[in-house]
Symmetry: C2
Subunit: 214 residues, 2 copies
Amino acid sequence: MKKQHISDAVIRRLPRYYRYLDELHSRGVVRISSSTLGKRMGVTASQIRQDLSCFGEFGQQGYGYNIMELRAEIGRILGVDEPRRLIIVGAGHLGHALMQNFDFAQGGFRLDTAFDVSEALIGTEINGVTVRPMDELESYCAAHRPAVAVLTVPRAAAQETAERLSALGVEGLWNFTNVELSVDGRVFVENVHFADSLLTLSYRIAKQTDRETK
Amino acid sequence: MKKQHISDAVIRRLPRYYRYLDELHSRGVVRISSSTLGKRMGVTASQIRQDLSCFGEFGQQGYGYNIMELRAEIGRILGVDEPRRLIIVGAGHLGHALMQNFDFAQGGFRLDTAFDVSEALIGTEINGVTVRPMDELESYCAAHRPAVAVLTVPRAAAQETAERLSALGVEGLWNFTNVELSVDGRVFVENVHFADSLLTLSYRIAKQTDRETK
DNA sequence: TAGATTGTTAATCGATTAACAATC
DNA sequence: TAGATTGTTAATCGATTAACAATC
């Protein structure tokens, strides 16, 4: 039974399943049961089955799931099957690192180009991708209509750049600026807040130390 | 009433509160009520009060919370008040970006040094921090006992490096490798899985497109 | 067939929200 | 004092887990 509303918790687990199924598939494993998959993912078999049942029926009684099929299904659910155009806005160290290392294609994206204000960077090519001047953002977006913009500009420019991109019709912002953006409701914002992540680690270490010295 | 077990959901909200209180404080705002704070954070006033009550009583009836005090309390809870030593393992683009841009001090960490295998990087200084050869990891850790290691090595080296650091007694790993690490239970792992994050964005965009074309 | 494993319904558990007495 | 707002208890809501009939 397909569900109407899918909770955020479910969606955040799907990429992990996908990643693991991808690995199994490339290792040549053909089938897996919810209980084996659950064990590997650190969740219950029930949860695996519940999560998948939000989207359809992908398994077979007595057999489990065909890994290739399930991987493809989850890929479809996540939208990996129809690649979307993506641009990087801010080609500093972080933007550069993503251009150099990150496999956008695997996530169903096609990295088209990057933008920066720095004269030193404009016109250079990083991993086959050209860096353009920020001035060309409007004309470029009008012509190529990228679906997603990676926001790797300095904090100070974050909100302004986000608004500009929102006005240009991007559908999603992948926000690395550690700034709480406020944008038009049409635009999805996915935050990668490094600082928050590190603080949770700090908490867990601090708590443990407390306990030990108590 | 202080709680025994604090849920992960609560802990993940604390850094956001902290960040926002920090901003208010630097803007000179003195007090805030749970209802105002909740509105700004997009949560209910109840949730703010419940979250804080896990750790103690920081407010005052009829007044609300003193921002400076509350900020300090949350900082203490998160362990920001007593800085811990941190090293970066892997000084490629991503490690480099963190060294250049990330404010470790604000998260209660002191970035001591970085390690890499690349001859070109060893001995260089990035933002005042020296890059050392990976061979020196053992002797360095024995001497300086860093609490946290930032794992920014290539995927292929991730598991091996994590085990090495675990054996060297680090308390936490901040994992950027997009690899599911398996390490000793003593060691806390905080994952920053870029790929998972981007896939959730992909899902939301894909779902919206579905709805529009339906 | 017999064993395995699904999808789904029901039960449980935990997290969020509402309500309110206490009190600044 | 009167109004505001806390900390906490109770009610609600949603997510996770368990159970099991269906069936490959």
